[in-house]
Symmetry: D3
Amino acid sequence: MPHKPVKSPPPSPHTPASVTFPRKREKEELGKGAGTPGTPGGATTAGAAGDDETVITALELASAELTPAMQAYFDKCTEKLGFVPNVLKAYAFDMPKLEAFVAMYNDLMLAPSGLSKLEREMIAVAVSSHNRCYYCLVAHGAAVRGLADDPVLGELMAMNYRAARLDPRQRAMLDFAVKLTAQPWEIEESDRNVLREAGFTDRDIWDIAAVAGFFNMSNRIASATDMRPNPAYHGQKRQ
Amino acid sequence: MPHKPVKSPPPSPHTPASVTFPRKREKEELGKGAGTPGTPGGATTAGAAGDDETVITALELASAELTPAMQAYFDKCTEKLGFVPNVLKAYAFDMPKLEAFVAMYNDLMLAPSGLSKLEREMIAVAVSSHNRCYYCLVAHGAAVRGLADDPVLGELMAMNYRAARLDPRQRAMLDFAVKLTAQPWEIEESDRNVLREAGFTDRDIWDIAAVAGFFNMSNRIASATDMRPNPAYHGQKRQ
Amino acid sequence: MPHKPVKSPPPSPHTPASVTFPRKREKEELGKGAGTPGTPGGATTAGAAGDDETVITALELASAELTPAMQAYFDKCTEKLGFVPNVLKAYAFDMPKLEAFVAMYNDLMLAPSGLSKLEREMIAVAVSSHNRCYYCLVAHGAAVRGLADDPVLGELMAMNYRAARLDPRQRAMLDFAVKLTAQPWEIEESDRNVLREAGFTDRDIWDIAAVAGFFNMSNRIASATDMRPNPAYHGQKRQ
Amino acid sequence: MPHKPVKSPPPSPHTPASVTFPRKREKEELGKGAGTPGTPGGATTAGAAGDDETVITALELASAELTPAMQAYFDKCTEKLGFVPNVLKAYAFDMPKLEAFVAMYNDLMLAPSGLSKLEREMIAVAVSSHNRCYYCLVAHGAAVRGLADDPVLGELMAMNYRAARLDPRQRAMLDFAVKLTAQPWEIEESDRNVLREAGFTDRDIWDIAAVAGFFNMSNRIASATDMRPNPAYHGQKRQ
Amino acid sequence: MPHKPVKSPPPSPHTPASVTFPRKREKEELGKGAGTPGTPGGATTAGAAGDDETVITALELASAELTPAMQAYFDKCTEKLGFVPNVLKAYAFDMPKLEAFVAMYNDLMLAPSGLSKLEREMIAVAVSSHNRCYYCLVAHGAAVRGLADDPVLGELMAMNYRAARLDPRQRAMLDFAVKLTAQPWEIEESDRNVLREAGFTDRDIWDIAAVAGFFNMSNRIASATDMRPNPAYHGQKRQ
Amino acid sequence: MPHKPVKSPPPSPHTPASVTFPRKREKEELGKGAGTPGTPGGATTAGAAGDDETVITALELASAELTPAMQAYFDKCTEKLGFVPNVLKAYAFDMPKLEAFVAMYNDLMLAPSGLSKLEREMIAVAVSSHNRCYYCLVAHGAAVRGLADDPVLGELMAMNYRAARLDPRQRAMLDFAVKLTAQPWEIEESDRNVLREAGFTDRDIWDIAAVAGFFNMSNRIASATDMRPNPAYHGQKRQ
């Protein structure tokens, strides 16, 4: 799960299974130009104080104690990304839910597949664009920019994938994923055959469907809870 | 995952980790009144011969060997339901995917929650109705009929939940789930507050969102792969 | 078209041509699992006491005295179906309206046509599914199951006709009927030509349009009045 | 219901019950400014020569011999309107269908009701506007202009009823009719209560629903068959 | 801009730069058959008394003094049309806005182009029909009737351009304009190629897009301000 | 019009009225990760060689000679922004069209108004997000980031303005602009009154409508022509 908060402090060594999530709304969400918002709902924050005082969601859900596996995973996020992605903090009120989410996410996005990691992220962003999911567009738009080493491709996926100069295979992949998002009831054998003709195997078709399906789930959990992305994503790989 | 195929044979004792899924299209899907269909695509079937010769999906994906945990789970399905739900057979080409799906499904639908199991199934069916997902409407419609001991409530959820005589709490729950399905980008604090005023806690809101999100994923995987429900569901709890 | 209202005059003992419609809401509509509903509106019920104490619609409309022709028709319904379909009881507040409805219905659904009775019922259900009409899905779903002698085909029509294994002729017929339901303004000569190429005559095209049109009317009258189907439909032809 | 069909038998002088429908496409439909169209399909026209040489629909359906009742009705149309409305000619290939249509139409639009005839025509046009039905907008737009003695009101109904200066009762009536047209599955008791608060009785609600439902049927039959309005409507009551 | 109000008085010679716009709602908008409306908002009227006592928009915006160029333009409108189109009066609260609008409008609709003036007006009306803009449908429907010398073509454009008998070139032009209106994000090279194959140059494509775009702007300004068309349009070119 | 291309060379002094637009597709649009695109259509490029070898649109339209006023304007763009925004180059095939566009744009976005320049840009981006217009989202997203001095606000407007923490006035402004974009036919006095209650004057309402309308035009011209934004926008104000 390729995301990260600004300057989130490493968990102190003596509290191996607890996360500390800050509680102040971050500076840029207040929006100099955008007026002063009221706080929506109770605003879930997690953990103790810290530099990255992020409000994660609009729900008041106290963090649970991280299991050792999840602590290790959070530590790895901090080490590699510099922060723990907010979606993980949002799920951290309940370890079975967090673990199930992490297991499915990592299998889908990182396990071997006929789809490259970049292609899976492109599906994530095109689906999230259809669903206008702020969290996922910010976090996975950054992933596309990073994996493609291309500051523009993430924008194209987030704004209108049809405007991107894609090879026919990737275009077919995204057309299927977005139709499956918008009108799943209209997907038929002819749609699968377009993918097969573009070179995808049946296993690839499963993976396209599974990634598109997963983000149709995640987009809705993020929108339902007003999940906010870690601020660090915004500036990543812009040049 | 409470579902089941007709007369699926018990796995033989000496092959504890392999499943046998039949390959002929079942009788009722041929549709006496509905003409003779061509076979769409390759039509995934799984395993060896058997009485329940079901085509599970339109994808050709060979079953993997079940891990002991999954074998035990499939055995329990057979014991309790009389069959292994086709969605599990569909995922059985890859054990990490099957296990992640089972872990998330069981946590969402069976773990303790402020929502009853019936309420979670009602969300499943109302979401699947919006998405017109044949597999999920059949399998989870049967679950609503069974859990409610009411042959009509499942029909109401599958056809138009707005026509059901629901208490205001359940109505608010389904309104949120279906709006989240149809226009996730329009969910805001005011929508969450309607749920709070109906008596739901923030944790309940998470659960409503998570179940609705999960079926937005599952509906799409089922539609993308033309997943067919086990025939046994159709007649369950009709009187 | 198998299917009652408040303050309907008690059938006088010497007038065998009057119907008695019960007044209590039937058991399954109260929904064990679905909470206790308030009564919507005044809830039209019709007639005196009886076993099937159904609330027919949300409108308070007193039953008129049946004309001899309509009495004979209701008697025939009772003889053949075991009950008078609620849609007929709903129209029974006004004899000219009832007679016009019955005349049009019987001509469309029962008179000679290039479409089989089953095909006309398939159109009825596919259109009612698009319009999510609870009354018509229940009543005509049962008709499809019965005419096809197939417990599954009715479900497929009610849930998503695109998932059914249909021959190309029936598929073209339903595609036309559902497009005509969803976007009538986009029907053009090319759509009619698809039907002609599938083997339909111009007279058949009229009949497809007329049945689809009729259920676009009936769905709306049922939805506008909260019409409730006779409970007996639910269990018909489920095995 | 002011509105004619190829190969209709020439009226024999001694059979007063047959109609003569012309066969040339009328001048204004060729469209000076709109290029020369190909003929769509076979183009149903009816009857022998005559002044109004109209193609009625895109379907080739030979006119049947009018029953005496229908002949009398057509004669009355000619006497009062100067022509037989094309919708009647379109149905004239089959007397039971024509009679059922005429019976239902006349009951709905002309029988006593809490809605004025103008109000019923306003519903007809607002519904037909949502469905973008050329035939019904032309024929019933003229009816609104005539009944209201107002050249503008028909335009408002046909273009966007929300732009009309209506009293709250008529506005509520049209809002219900158009919602019932666009999203019948979302009509609930609260919608009926808005009508009751605007002064409508339950019987009036039935009539609003029945007229809106009827035009949802007629719009689709007209669109499915490419029905063309009689040219005379266009210039009626324009000043 | 081909439009005009009833009997708008010529600006008196001594006030060369001021317009007088009447303030009473015109007779036909009150709608004999349509009840008595409340006045929406403050109802912008412009200028002093006059015969054509039109309410132009729902916004209270005082007319500015016309620049000599705009006065000359208004005079020319009055001379040629008999009135100043209300859209011009609506913009007349601010001269730079009026002048920019007039410059763009006249260039688009009147300057040399591969599209005839009638074709540009056909696009205007088909786009306005999709957007259900009362002002533009009335004003530009009259323009189509006049330029085509055809009382029917304007109706077809306003009601459903798909029902018109158009040559393939004009049909392709309107299909592009309406798709660009409804789903601009789905316009791609294949859509432009359909136009090229129909004989349009790239410059023509620009003009189609620019006219369609302009009316997507104007429709929204008219709807946002409840702009009312000059009554004179209604009767123009009806026979 | 606040936009700019990378390192576009100043027009050489001896060719005061001609612009030079490069012709190679820029590096980032080729998309390292996104495959190799075919060239869509002929791809409008303008002028001679240069550093910023941008393809502006998919239309082949030769640049006209700039009028002195437009040359001065282009020079000012280059001076202030470092480049001439591609939308201006796209219009530069015809001077009256370019001048009309520039006059309207500058009046709307820069002239005195009750709306701040930032607010006008926020409307531009929220409208462009609804219409999924790549060009306008890139160019005006950068403008919001710059005017707000806030790298996040532009993202929020481009992705889902409902997720932004806005004061009620700005929220009402955007709700009106987006409803006017999506369903202009449903804007009524009650919508205008919400704006008045939020503190907007009638003149402000005009300006909101005019800016929203303008971008509904520009979005469509950009989408119809596949207009590509200057690459420099992407990196602007990201930290």
